[in-house]
């Protein structure tokens, strides 16, 4: 609310700059950096760069053991989002920087396969050529049928804006960790279920085999065993072994360190928390006692065990589980919801995100006044300590270095000799070695893992080769854990794969000749030159199983590798479209129609892109806190606040174009007709259960408010009523109209406490004095019936406490307003056209008002005598002088500040245990009737 993105665009205008100069300079933390290329007439939103996608999106990819890296789904799930951007290629890249990849197998010394509870790794990588920058979050899911029981996945937040990824790293990391944790929990659940089923199968098989052996034994009295019998006995033995192994696995998966989850503050699956805990408790029991296990079985009674063939099907025949199948369905949808939320949170301009974070941080400091006009519920939520510790470190570093890259916190240190680690550029890890290092382990478990598995393993290994040239790994979070892991990996013998080159499947997957540099350290036979040529620009669907179920489920590659030229054309066209859509943000800027600079391949700096977006808020300004520092904030402010509820409106979609044009059209049209336009919203659901005052609501309210002040000449006294704490009743027959007016006016209602706004959208019963105590803005139904008369009787009875806005006859009955404040707040000739902009305008003026109220409230001598003997009158005089001269308030404006001051006092003196006693303050002032 303190600064709006729109403000940036205006900094070009000279007269505004002059005005700014005349005023004392703002403290640094309040200032928005001026747009550096303003003089060139460039548009700050012209950042199209060279990216081939129109907006940020989230990509989920898998390193499939069958086909190598493949994209699974994008969020939003819309083919238009990624445009001509090559998801296959990018999947390959992001999957190839996985540092965690410690796979499961038989560790040297252990008899059974061991599950590793691998921590996720978080990497930032950029591909300047593609214009894509990504936060990449790697995770592993368990799959009984997969090699080593693990399936590597990754979720990537892909944006064209490098700064966004870098500056929002902590936030992204926190959010993605939550989503990942949720997904993994669901996966563990599914995995345990799978194991249970498998165990049943094995058990059943064993019984069958046992019976057969017995029969054979009986039938056979020759004294020696037939080969058949020996075979059976072997089979039986291997089944027995398999059972033990699976039981062990089940034990392992159930002994997942849940305490780890409890330590961390996030619980992504709150709704099922109880159930989960029950399960967790159950799981603990299961590891020790049998009855509990049977209990768990009871709720999956439908499963009938199958006979397991001694030799399982060939690996290539079997179908890998889809992501959905890998995860408990509840958790899967939960994860998707979270990812959608992340996408909504982080899309849009980084400037918006940062200003929002700054204003949040500042708001949090203003703990005495912030409740008045802000929704402070989100400020109260405690940021997870664990994640923000790092964040604070970062922001403090930023004070010195001003640049994330220079900060010492996130660095990738890899101890392998062949890995170069430098600050700017960390060459990607060579998958080959890790993969190879698995081999000795794998070969030990022949009885369990069939030889065939190894074949395709090799194929994958070859497929995973990628280069470090254009992929710059810019930073990872877990340097410490990464270190230990790579050390352990390094200790494994590095041996070239004996089966290398046996399959050509993977080698065909090497892609994009121009941007991949084959690592010379990798002695792979699979890198046959023709593969490079054949695969330009990005062809993975040549592979026979490329479109298996998993790929086809959500992700449908639209591109045909043959018509590369066509694609280029398309991409050019899309570039143009992109320009339009991104520019619509700055639509109010008169320079919109200027020819845009050549957007082709120029470096960013010449494109007129904001190179220095606002830095994240730094907690360095102690002076701000002044003498009230003690109560302003006791627990410090974390630098990066969680912008979880932020639903950025500044998406670079076509929606804003249509919206803003609608806005303009409907400005002068009637209220009802414009209603439809505001209601329509392309985004399916705001999904903000926790945050009532979502961005969308703000925008809507702002639009409605704009319309209100343009349509009603008596908007000023109405707003004055709200600001001075006099309940305003919107009376009307039609619910929709009344509610719309109430929404519009709600942005002017000061909160009485930290709870929800005192706004009641629709009431049908007669009002009572208690209602005026509780609500400051009420939508009331007008009924033409005897019952309705009661409603009106009550209204006329309590008319001294309320202002009444009659939506039907367009009249207003309320006290006179002669102040100046509201006219600045609600100027019917305002040039502001967008709802969200107007909302911010209102918020900034209200913040000003808050600071006046704060000053007034906390000046001792304005309320209490300086000396014992001082008469009351002189205090009153002093108070009025202060209000009039110091604060520059006129007439009724004084009452507004006085009312806000009372609210501040009430809030401050409120005892923590008990809520504020709701009290109704009023004045005996005459009301007047306003008509259009």
């Amino acid at each position: 609310m303190i600064s709006a993105p729109d403000v940036v665009a205006f900094t070009r205008e000279e007269e505004l700059e002059d005005e700014l100069c005349s005023e004392p300079p703002l403290p640094e933390e309040y200032s928005v950096p001026l747009f550096p290329f303003a003089s060139h007439g460039a548009n700050p939103w012209a950042r199209v760069a060279s990216s081939k996608f129109t907006r940020d999106f989230i990509l989920i990819s898998e390193f499939s053991e069958q086909v190598g890296p493949q994209p699974l789904l994008t969020i939003p799930d819309d083919a238009k989002v990624s445009g001509t951007f090559d998801l296959n290629y990018f999947s390959l890249r992001i999957m190839s920087v996985d540092y965690q990849a410690s796979f499961v197998g038989h560790p040297p010394g252990s008899a059974y396969p061991k599950l590793n509870f691998v921590e996720d790794s978080k990497v930032v990588l950029g591909d300047s050529k593609e214009g894509a920058f990504a936060y990449v979050h790697h995770l592993t899911l368990y799959d009984l049928e997969a090699r080593g029981f693990v399936r590597p996945f990754c979720m990537a937040y892909i944006s064209a804006d490098e700064h966004k990824i870098m500056q929002q790293f902590q936030e992204l990391s926190a959010e993605f960790s939550k989503a990942s944790e949720c997904l993994k929990t669901g996966n563990r659940k599914a995995f345990a279920n799978e194991l249970e089923k498998k165990l049943k199968d094995l058990d059943y098989t064993r019984t069958v085999l046992h019976n057969e052996t017995e029969i054979q034994k009986k039938a056979n009295d020759k004294g020696y065993y037939t080969t058949q019998a020996i075979e059976k006995a072997n089979e039986l033995a291997s089944v027995e072994k398999s059972i033990i192994e699976h039981q062990d696995l089940l034990k392992q998966i159930r002994s997942y360190p849940y305490r780890k989850l409890k330590e961390s503050d996030f619980h992504p699956y709150e709704p099922e928390c109880a159930l989960d805990q029950a399960n967790a408790g159950c799981d603990q029991d299961l590891t020790t006692s049998e009855p509990a296990e049977t209990h768990l079985y009871t709720h999956v009674p439908s499963y009938t065990p199958k006979l397991i063939k001694a030799k399982s099907a060939k690996c290539f025949d079997k179908k890998l589980k889809t992501l959905e199948e890998l995860c408990d369905i509840y958790f899967f949808t939960q994860t998707l919801d979270q990812l959608h939320q992340i996408e909504r949170t982080f899309r849009g301009d980084v400037c918006y995100l940062l200003t929002d974070q700054i204003s949040r941080a500042l708001l949090k400091q203003q703990s005495v006044t912030n409740f008045l006009f802000e929704d402070v519920s989100f400020l109260d939520e405690k940021p997870p300590e664990k994640q923000y510790r790092g964040c604070r470190g970062l922001s403090q570093d930023a004070v010195d270095g001003r640049c994330l890259e220079e900060s010492p916190a996130p660095k990738v240190v890899i101890s392998l000799g062949s890995y170069k680690s430098s600050v700017e550029c960390v060459p990607i890890k060579m998958e080959q070695e890790i993969e190879d290092s698995q081999e000795p382990k794998m070969t030990e478990s022949v009885t369990f893992e069939h030889q065939e598995n190894l074949d395709y393993l090799d194929a994958d290994i070859k497929g995973s080769i990628s280069s470090g040239e254009s992929i710059e790994v810019l930073g990872t979070e877990k340097s410490a854990s990464g270190l230990t892991k790579s050390e352990s990996q390094a200790s494994l013998p590095v041996s070239p794969s004996p089966q290398a080159g046996r399959s050509k499947v993977g080698s065909r997957r090497t892609v994009s000749e121009d941007s991949i540099e084959v690592l010379s350290t990798c002695p792979s036979e699979s890198l046959i030159p023709e593969d490079f040529k054949a695969s330009y620009p990005s062809a993975i669907n040549e592979e026979p199983y490329a479109d298996d179920e998993e790929g086809g489920l959500r992700f449908t590659p639209k591109l045909n590798p043959d018509n590369a030229d066509e694609q280029e054309d398309i991409s050019k066209q899309e570039d143009l479209v992109q320009v339009d859509s991104t520019c619509c943000i700055g639509k109010e800027s008169p320079n919109f129609l200027e020819p845009l600079p050549d957007l082709g391949q120029k470096p960013c700096d010449e494109d007129g892109v904001v190179r220095i977006p606002p830095q994240p808020y730094r907690q360095a300004e102690q002076g701000l806190r002044g003498s009230f520092g003690g109560f302003l904030s006791h627990d410090g402010i974390s630098g990066g606040l969680l912008p979880y509820e932020l639903d950025s409106r500044y998406l670079t979609g076509s929606r804003d174009v249509s919206k803003s044009s609608l806005d303009e059209c409907s400005d002068s049209t009637s209220y009802i007709s414009s209603a439809a336009s505001t209601c329509s919203d392309r985004t399916p659901s705001p999904a903000h259960p926790a945050c009532p005052a979502s961005e969308r609501h703000k925008k809507k309210a702002g639009q409605n408010a704009l319309r209100f002040i343009r349509q009603y000449p008596f908007a000023h006294p109405a707003i004055y009523s709200l600001l001075s704490g006099r309940t305003l009743i919107v009376l009307g027959e039609e619910e929709a109209i009344v509610k719309k007016l109430v929404t519009a006016l709600s942005i002017f209602v000061p909160n009485c406490g930290v709870y929800a706004k005192p706004v009641k959208h629709w009431v049908t019963s007669p009002l009572h004095v208690v209602d005026f105590q509780k609500w400051k803005l009420i939508g009331l139904q007008r009924v033409v019936s005897p019952a309705g008369v009661n409603v009106l009787h009550a209204l006329s009875r309590y008319s001294r406490y309320v202002s009444i806005l009659d939506a039907d006859s367009k009249t207003l009955r309320c006290p006179l307003y002669k102040g100046t404040l509201v006219s600045r707040l609600a100027d019917h000739r305002t040039q502001i056209k967008r709802g969200s902009t107007y909302y911010m305008h209102v918020q900034s003026i209200l913040t000003q008002l808050c600071s006046k109220a704060f000053l007034f409230t906390f000046c001792h001598h304005l309320h209490l005598p300086i000396s014992e003997r001082e008469p009351e009158e002189s205090v009153v005089n002093r108070r009025m002088n202060f209000l009039k001269l110091q604060l520059g308030l006129a007439n009724e404006d004084i009452k507004i500040v006085q009312y806000l001051a009372e609210l501040l006092k009430l809030q401050y003196i409120q005892e923590p245990g008990q809520g504020v006693h709701p009290l109704l303050r009023f004045d005996y002032v005459p009301s007047f009737l306003y008509k259009i």
């Binding site: 003690g630 109560f631 009572h768 209204l795 009875r797 906390f858 309320h863 009290l919 009301s927 009737l929």
Partner: protein, 458 residues
């Protein structure tokens, strides 16, 4: 206002115009109450408010629950459950034993034929008496004798320990409706139309025994006596349902004066013939009486009358002070008078001398704007008519408090702390002086700042 809301035209026969009740409009400069607190708790009509000490009061009503409130903050202090029926009488009963600190008790009588003594600090039932044959309708504490009386179909005298000291024989089925303490250990009790004087006589056998003796029966009232109030040590006043007001000598129980002209029976046709009300006895029943040293203030029907004891006549009146019966009336120290009524409003009046008749009250409110102000003109014309030979005083409406949606049963004036009103809408409203409250909050705020150490520069 209503008409405007309904959307009709502005016909001259507005609702407001029909009634001759004086209205004040929305601008009330002299009305100090600009803040209100709604106290919720009761589930039925709240009938009684009683002050316990400087900042606490108790409320009771038809739901049988007694609540104790903080008059400053509006905080609910205690909730006393014990009665099963509605409460019929309540009286504070504070003991001031020299040995122990002051102990606040309250007595409550209920339709369940019990009387309970409550401790106001702990909220405990101290004692409970349930040997009554009928509902106790009034309770009177004689602090001087350290006994209390309960009045129902008979009169009982109790001591602090709740021992029954003595009782009268069965009086009537209707029972005693009001009691007042008189000098010389006497008590006046209103029983139907009769006023019975009882005297308490210390029993001969020493020990704190008392005997109660009926001394005199006064049968001057034509109808049931509704109100009974002490003026000073020498006089007390009674009012009846048909609008008789009789001033009695407290020592020899003789009639000093009688005012019956509230009704049209015209016993004294020579006295103020213009003060005539409609014929219905309900309109003239003396609902409540209060007094200061000079005057008796009577709530008669919808009106308020001020009777001067020395002049022995009504010196000022407001025939229709409210839209409906006035239920309670109280004199404030600053020549102001507060009345509450069945119409749900509380009004503040000021007794002013005629000579300094201020400019005609100018209603600047909404009604004026709409031409509804004529109602006031009528009222004023009526007042002018009275001027000629009525008294030198008149009652001026200073402000009204509108908050309750139903009859305001009673109110309690707490001085600076404000005014508590209770009503049939189950609510109690605490009316506060906004200016004072604002200042108090500032004071608290700076105290808290100092306490938190936030005032020091850091």
């Amino acid at each position: 206002m209503l008409r405007w809301l309904i959307g009709g035209g502005r016909e001259p026969q507005g609702l407001a115009e029909k009634s001759s009740v004086q209205t004040i409009g929305e601008e009330q400069i002299q009305n100090p109450y600009t803040e209100l607190l709604v106290l919720k708790g009761h589930q039925d009509i709240v009938r009684f408010l009683v002050q316990i000490d400087d900042f606490r009061f108790a409320s009771a009503g038809d739901d049988g629950i007694i609540f104790l409130w903080n008059a400053q903050t509006g905080e609910k202090l205690l909730e006393l459950h014990g009665h099963t029926h509605k409460i019929t009488a309540i009286a504070p009963f504070s003991s001031s034993d020299a040995s122990e600190e002051k102990k606040h008790l309250i007595l409550t009588a209920s339709a369940d034929r019990t009387v309970i003594v409550w401790d106001c600090t702990s909220g405990r039932q101290v004692q409970r008496v349930s040997c009554f044959h009928s509902t106790v309708k009034c309770l009177t504490v004689l602090q001087r004798l350290d006994v209390w009386l309960s009045g129902g179909s008979d009169l009982c005298v109790w001591n602090r320990k709740l021992d029954l000291l003595c009782k009268t024989s069965h009086l009537t089925d209707a029972g005693i409706s009001a009691m007042v303490e008189l000098p010389k250990n006497c008590v006046a009790a209103a029983v139907g139309k009769e006023l019975i004087i009882f005297r308490l006589i210390a029993s001969n056998d020493g020990s704190e025994g008392w005997n109660v003796l009926e001394v005199k029966r006064l049968i001057d009232h034509q109808d049931n006596i509704l109100s009974l109030v002490n003026v000073n040590d020498l006089t007390f006043v009674t009012g009846s349902h048909v609008g008789e007001l009789i001033v009695w000598d407290a020592l020899d129980w003789t009639k000093q004066a009688c005012e019956c002209n509230f009704s049209d029976s015209s016993v004294h046709p020579d006295v103020q013939p213009e003060i005539k009300l409609s014929q219905s006895p309900n309109e003239t029943s003396v609902q409540h009486l209060t007094s200061d040293e000079e005057c008796v203030f009577a709530a008669v029907g919808k009106g308020i009358y001020v009777y001067n004891l020395q002049m022995k006549r009504v010196i000022a009146c407001q025939r229709s002070a409210h839209d409906s019966s006035v239920l309670h009336i109280e004199k404030l120290p600053n020549r102001q008078l507060i009345s509450c009524s069945e119409d749900g409003s509380v009004r503040i009046w000021e007794l002013r001398e005629k000579q300094q008749l201020p400019a005609e009250p100018v209603p600047t409110g909404f009604f004026n704007m709409w031409g509804f102000g004529r109602a006031n003109k009528q009222a004023n014309q009526a007042a002018k008519k009275m001027q000629e030979n009525t008294p030198t005083y008149f009652l001026d409406l200073v402000g009204d408090l509108i908050g309750h949606s139903s009859a305001v049963q009673m109110f309690l004036y707490f001085g600076e702390l404000g005014l508590a009103t209770c009503s049939a809408d189950h609510l109690i409203i605490l009316w506060k002086e906004g200016e004072r409250e604002s200042k108090l909050r500032s004071l608290t705020l700076f105290q808290k700042l100092a306490q938190n150490g936030d005032l020091q520069l850091k």
